[in-house]
């Protein structure tokens, strides 16, 4: 047997050991217990997943995903996975879909999940669908072909929720509601018998309606473990030693016109505006390097072809387009008065437009010729995301839906050809967390997956 030269080995190894320990604690298995405290800007008044009156946001979706579950889920690559449904089949033409339900799942009020309850929940969320239970399966029958139906069922609004007699909502998710002060604070407790196992943390407290500044204060004072960070602040927070993590870009910032261009002149003016926007300087100065300039609807990480849409300003061409029209109207451009980033972006757009000979008047009024909009992408599935964007912007999604990347590209081209929207930036969701929060990393699509995080003494 070979023997080591122990003295030499020990001496050389002591340095290595010191380096190893200094490099940070090794990965450890998750520990149970503790309360996770989160702060967020959104202040939803309702936890009903299919309440269409509530503004859609990634934060709201993530909170609801703690309480409610869908039949299927999408991972951050847009791949489908079973959830409350264990498998699924479709009939000819993708018009009839059958989802076989998982056994042994219970709502937080103790009721067993059945195909009837799931079908009823889906009918509430989608009144135009024909949804019914057939044995242990939920069947969805459509009057049109929809190959994306499973991905659509992964959307938060299609979460399975049960209302009891008093109108109280119950879900099957990893956490149950312990206390709910609408728009202010939500307290959740870990569901001991969740079908995927009890979550590691005992409870989650969500403080709502906190602006970015308040959230960072909460984190620094140790009152919150996880907070949102404004895109333009992420770099600074990281430089100051904060733990910052971000999703892939999941929010589109764009200028949206209120209607279609009615004349050739109006088309020329819209082209002039689109060509005048200097996204590069906006990114470096106003967004402090955050976000990705874009001229496409879907971010490049989702489509793979976003770079083919030029984001460069072309003032020469912009002026040429403007000069095709003798008299240009003054446009009002609206933005959310509570959104400081929107204000500075709109002001810069107005300056760029002025260089091209256009007059834009920023306003916080409810009506305007065009608005700066921030639209969270609905899904990591590019077709679902594009269809949802079109719906949000009031655009008609081209049909039929294709399968290939070229089909997706063609659909996006068709949506942009209407000149209703000028994409500006794709923004990621950024978060800062405290060192005791382990296994925290937002998914590419911005999903929190807080049932997998755990509270420890040190970050591994």
């Amino acid at each position: 047997m070979k023997r080591f030269g122990w003295r030499r080995l020990v001496a050389s190894s002591l340095l290595l050991m010191a380096l190893l320990i200094k490099a940070g604690a090794a990965e450890t298995r998750p520990q149970y217990g503790g309360t996770l405290r989160i702060a967020m800007r959104e202040a939803p008044a309702s936890l009903d997943p299919c309440d269409a009156t509530q503004a859609d946001s990634l934060a709201r979706r993530n909170v609801l995903a703690l309480i409610f579950e869908t039949l299927v889920t999408l991972d951050d690559r847009g791949r489908l996975h079973p959830s409350l449904a264990v498998d699924w089949q479709f009939g000819p033409g993708n018009q009839r879909w059958q989802f076989r339900m998982r056994h042994g799942v219970r709502f937080h009020d103790g009721t067993a999940l059945t195909a009837e309850i799931a079908a009823s929940s889906l009918r509430t969320a989608n009144p135009s669908w024909k949804v019914f239970a057939e044995g242990e399966a939920v069947v969805v029958e459509l009057d049109h072909s929809d190959p994306d139906l499973p991905a659509e069922l992964a959307l938060t609004r299609n979460s399975i929720a049960k209302k009891n007699g008093g109108g109280k909502l119950s879900g099957t998710g990893p956490f149950h509601i312990e206390d709910w002060q609408a728009g202010k604070k939500l307290t959740l407790g870990a569901e001991e018998n969740h079908w995927r196992g009890r979550a590691f943390v005992d409870a989650i407290e969500v403080e709502m309606g906190r602006n970015f500044h308040e959230q960072l204060n909460e984190l620094e004072l140790g009152r919150a473990n996880l907070v949102e960070v404004a895109p333009q602040q992420g770099h600074r927070v990281a430089m100051e030693g904060g733990w910052v993590s971000s999703s892939q870009p999941m929010e589109l910032v764009a200028l949206a016109f209120s209607g279609d261009p009615k004349t050739a002149n109006e088309k020329s003016l819209r082209s002039a505006l689109a060509l005048s926007v200097d996204r590069g300087s906006m990114k470096s100065v106003l967004l402090q390097g955050a976000g990705q300039p874009t001229a496409s609807l879907l971010p490049n990480w989702m489509s793979g072809y976003g770079f083919t849409f030029s984001t460069d300003a072309d003032l020469k061409r912009a002026r040429h387009e403007r000069e095709q029209v003798s008299t240009a109207p003054n446009w009002t451009v609206g933005y959310d008065a509570n959104d400081s980033v929107a204000r500075v972006l709109v002001e810069r757009v107005a300056l760029n437009a002025k260089d091209a000979g256009l007059v834009l008047q920023p306003t916080t009024a409810a009506t305007a010729d065009l608005r700066l909009v921030r639209i969270p992408l609905a899904s990591a599935d590019p077709w679902i995301a594009l269809a949802n964007l079109a719906e949000t912007l009031g655009l008609a999604m081209p049909k039929p839906r294709g399968e290939s990347g070229e089909d997706l590209y063609a659909a996006e081209l068709a949506l942009l050809a209407g000149q209703r929207i000028i994409p500006l930036f794709d923004l990621p969701e950024e978060y800062a967390s405290c060192p005791v929060l382990n296994d925290w990393r937002p998914a590419a699509d911005g999903s929190w997956r807080l049932d997998e995080v755990w509270m420890g003494k040190d970050r591994p």
Partner: protein
């Protein structure tokens, strides 16, 4: 009714056998991997430009390695020339094609932006499934660890038992939360022999762990340990598996002392069991029968036995973050910066037994990938004796194999999300 996407895992699972992923954009990927897509893209370009002089540029906008970019560029140029395209400088060309090797979340996307004269541009593209890459680091250390791929699948792998082997494993049992799958190597490919379902009344805890072990008694083949559940198979193929609720202790080493040989003339490794929590991810600390005078230790995640000349030293990776060295009389705790999983392997180097411990990957940056390193425990002080063996994600299981000379590690690949099981073998490197 036509059968469609029946459980996305199922279809993917079989395609992941032994890491033959759909495509691997690393140096080992054969140029032929790119031939089909390159040909398709060439055809699409020529459908727009027609034959003649075309200025073609290729730019990499993806995570493809340079050598692969070169290979793809070469394939594309050959295919274009075969279709009548003559490479030309931009000022001499009738058209230009700017090819970008891009990617999205699911696939590589190769895009050609085509310009002809002052006319409008056209965009054509093809999609190619993505793969993953890997890296290695070497240090000069007394023990070298190597990992041998065993199996990969989408479902969380809890343990892999090698049932039959010659120079390489020929039959394996793969344990996940719902089944034990028996695979046999036939003509270089793993084929499913049998799938044995596991019944359990209660939901599994998160961070599920379990063991599949060859039975000590000859009246059956397999013992399966899961939180609150014990399963026993029949003796020969085709097997059946009978599961019941149980709080029986899990063996910390193979129950047959003969299959876990002692070192030199020292004591044999006596079977030791430990009770595992039915609702959590750790052992409760109660031992059966115990280590010397100690019948309980603190709650722990994993344990490793290191035979010594006159006694047996046990390492317990406690839930308190410390490694407890227990010799039957004392329990000495130390903060070593190790992970939660320890195992031991018998080698021909040093004292003959080394501890394996998980840790943060050294080349993983902030990706959360883990590594395994071998240690000698000299005078209760661990000394690293191998380089860190990096894995492509976090290690979710590390168990000593029955023969004691190797271990099984399971890792969740950070890129693919799939679980990959490896055998860890140790060899003397000096």
């Amino acid at each position: 009714m036509r059968h469609a996407i029946q459980n996305a895992f199922q279809s993917l699972k079989l395609s992941l056998v032994l890491f033959f992923f759909c495509s691997v954009p690393v140096g080992i990927a054969a140029a032929t991997e790119w031939s089909g897509p390159a040909q398709q893209l060439a055809q699409k370009i020529v459908a727009v430009t027609g034959p003649g002089a075309v200025a073609v540029t290729v730019e990499n906008r993806s995570s493809l390695w340079t050598k692969n970019v070169d290979a793809i560029s070469g394939e594309l140029r050959v295919d274009l020339e075969a279709l009548g395209v003559r490479p030309a400088k931009p000022e001499q060309a009738a058209a230009s094609a700017a090819v970008s090797l891009s990617e999205n979340a699911q696939s590589c996307v190769w895009v050609a932006e085509i310009h002809q004269g002052a006319g409008a541009s056209a965009v054509v593209m093809v999609s190619v499934p993505r793969g993953d890459n890997a890296g290695f680091a070497h240090e000069s250390m007394p023990v070298s660890l190597r990992k041998i791929p065993l199996w990969a699948q989408e479902d969380r792998i809890l343990d892999v038992l090698i049932l039959e082997e010659d120079s390489a494993p020929r039959q394996i049992a793969v344990l996940d939360g719902e089944k034990v799958s028996i695979y046999r190597l036939k003509n270089g490919k793993w084929e499913l022999d049998q799938r044995l379902g596991i019944t359990h009344a209660r939901p599994w805890p998160r961070d599920l762990r379990g063991r599949v072990m060859e039975a000590a008694a000859k009246d059956h083949l397999l013992d399966v340990y899961l939180p609150g559940v014990f399963c026993r198979s029949t003796a020969s193929l085709p097997l059946t598996l009978n599961c019941r609720e149980s709080d029986d202790p899990w063996p910390l080493v193979a129950t047959a002392a003969a299959s876990f040989p002692s070192f030199g003339g020292g004591p044999s490794v006596q079977p030791l069991g430990a009770f595992y929590s039915a609702t959590r991810n750790f052992f409760t600390g109660a031992l059966a029968p115990g280590v010397g005078k100690l019948s309980t230790v603190g709650k722990f995640y994993s344990a490793a036995a290191l035979p010594r000349e006159k006694y047996l030293l046990w390492l317990f990776a406690g839930t308190d973050g410390q490694i407890h060295l227990v010799d039957g009389v004392t329990d000495q705790a130390a903060k070593l910066g190790w992970g939660s999983d320890v195992a031991s392997v018998k080698t021909a180097c040093g004292s003959g037994w080394q501890a394996l411990a998980t840790g943060a990957g050294e080349n993983a940056g902030n990706s959360g990938a883990d590594s395994v390193r071998a240690y000698e425990i000299a005078d209760r002080a661990p000394v690293p004796v191998s380089a860190a063996l990096d894995f492509p994600g976090e290690i979710t299981a590390l168990w000593t194999e029955a023969k004691g000379d190797s271990a099984v590690a399971v890792v969740r690949n950070r890129e693919t999300g799939a679980y990959e099981a490896f055998r860890l073998a140790a060899a003397c490197s000096q």
